[in-house]
Amino acid sequence: MSAAWTTAISGPARLGTAHPERRLFRGTGQAIATVGGLLFAFVAVPFLGDDYWFTAILIPVLVLSLAGLGLNLLTGYAGQLSVGSAAFMGIGAYLAYDVQTRLPGMPLLLSFVAGATAAAAVGVFAGLPSHRISGFYLVVCTLTVQFFVEWTLSNFRWFSNGSASGLVSVPPLVVAGRDLSSPLGRFLLTLSVVTVMTVLAHRIVRGEVGRRWMAVRDMDTAAAILGIPVLRTKLLAFAVSSFYCGMAGALWGFAYLGTFDPRAWELDRSFEILFAIIIGGMGSLSGSFLGAAFLLVLPLAMSQVAAAYLRGTVDQGTIENYKKIGFGILIVFFLVKEPRGLSRLVQTFIQRIRTWPLRHW
């Protein structure tokens, strides 16, 4: 009998409902690790990190993780492949900007939610064709959304409040009377939003909705026979996923870029998010974080190494090019060797450590 099951019945760390699948944590160990990790991120990191770490690594990793989380809900859990994530991010960012500049006195977080809601509305629309088509036919639908949104954002100046090239600069980030425009403030803002959204995502996928998504993913005919409304379930997945992407976009624009134009939301960004969840692990919340961190930190590390050892002998373009090859190889490698991504590798590793001295008893 597994330890997790025992603690579910009688253990001290029983949070949430009694059903083992729906608990917030699997056993005491995970509860301690999660709470400890959050404490570390909120209390220790602000003292340990410097501005470079906040602005160049932590904020983008967190935001990309959030976008990956959004795509993972749609692709990993509900089984609908999308390459339009960047478009939803763009909608979130621009609409948050519009709300923020056009309605003075609007709280910042509320305008983020407004932007994300707009993205969700477009997401539902984009998901409508999934009623009749699936697989890479759906890729084409989401590509349509991607191109259409790119074009709309750069062509209609309403979105950028009249700016000619669509270039906008965000107003100062003020939350509850505090100015969070410093790198540390932006980091804490991002971290808070991402934490809340991640807990929500966890609750969603562990609850009835998540079960429905997985049922539709695994076999939609069977899901329909079980009485699951397939189209509504898919549309809900599109809505929630786009909401997450929209929120990530608002954070990307406000907390990371500060100044952005429509080119920040091009197709390449969508691919980047897709790659993050392929590498991190489809259908795994932690995979979104692992993938995003891997995707952003690896190139930084590669550039550092290249700068240290190949000083001046290799130009930036060549390094970029090798990064590209490296990513391609990684994608193919993970798809071939470990389709469940880094999160699976980490799981296996933890399991090994846990049982380490007595592996075969």
Partner: protein
């Protein structure tokens, strides 16, 4: 009226260039069920190899042959390193793998030949030529249309008159039955990927000489996607017809609709049309199999 005709004919001819890229897709899709996103990168690879060999002093014919051989080699490598390891995986996984593949092919092409923009002169003037009814079309477009036509004829001869073409059609028809009759799937895959590389070379020559051999050549893959949806994934004739439709409607929309709602809609307009087609006729104009309905 003659302006309308001119736009229409110009669009139709430009559409044949989309068809060329789409044909490479269809070949691979029919034989292995892979939606090959890397077709654009292969086009870049071929064009870049050709132009760099030519700049290094090889004659046109020789560099064409050398590039064709290189593309065969690329096809063989892809079969051995990628496809063989992804047998029996879901189509979406295969699609994502070709997405990764496109990064590799692009990267390798630029690692070998550099990232500079190369001009490519095929010796065909891109000048207007008068036709009947007072319309003028580019000589270059006519050549491109001719090349696309020749490509289709050559491919259909290959499929209908050769032994390997026969097994190719067998696999496209029913892979399981073909395998049980002794057709070797890996051989078929190698053949179609090499052929697709060759089609990429032809497309790359025309696209490259029109817009320069550079990185943006990989974006032709995005132009070919709506063509495929409209024409059907498994029909070469469909690819040609859909290419014409997309080319013409894109140009007409740009001229007549774009004036009303803003320029630059050629990026999304074909896609919107493709989605419309998907909802009305999911297997495309000339596609055979009905796609899985959900």
């Amino acid at each position: 009226m003659s302006y309308f005709l001119e736009t229409l004919v110009g669009g139709l001819l430009a559409g044949t260039m989309y068809s060329m890229v789409a044909i490479g897709f269809v070949l691979i899709y029919k034989a292995s069920g892979v939606f090959n996103f890397a077709q654009g990168s292969m086009t870049l690879f071929a064009a870049l190899t050709f132009v760099c060999l030519k700049e290094r002093g090889l004659s046109v014919g020789l560099s064409f042959v050398a590039t064709a051989l290189t593309m065969v080699l690329v096809g063989l490598l892809i079969e051995r390193l990628l496809l063989r390891r992804l047998v029996n995986r879901s189509p979406v996984t295969l699609f994502m793998a070709t997405l990764g593949l496109s990064y590799i092919v692009e990267g390798v092409a630029q690692a070998i030949w550099g990232a500079d923009v190369h001009g490519l002169d095929l010796g065909i003037e891109d000048t207007p030529m008068p036709l009947p009814f007072g319309i003028r079309v580019s000589r270059f477009d006519l050549w491109a249309a001719g090349a696309a036509g020749a490509l289709v004829v050559a491919l259909s001869l290959f499929a209908n008159r050769t032994r390997i073409g026969l097994s190719l059609r067998a696999v496209a028809d029913d892979p399981l039955a073909a395998v049980s009759l002794g057709v070797r799937l890996p051989v078929i895959w190698r053949t179609v990927w090499s052929l697709a590389g060759f089609v990429g070379l032809v497309a790359g020559l025309f696209w490259g000489s029109r817009s320069g051999v550079q990185f943006s050549l990989t974006l032709v893959v995005l132009k070919a996607m709506p063509v495929l949806i409209i024409g059907g994934f498994d029909s070469i004739v469909g690819a040609i017809v859909a290419g014409l439709i997309v080319g013409a409607s894109e140009k007409l929309a740009e001229v007549y609709v774009g004036a009303a709602i803003g320029a630059g809609l050629e990026n999304w307009f074909p896609y919107a049309m493709a989605v419309g087609f998907l909802l009305l006729r999911p297997s495309g104009l000339l596609g055979g199999k009905a796609i899985v309905r959900v």
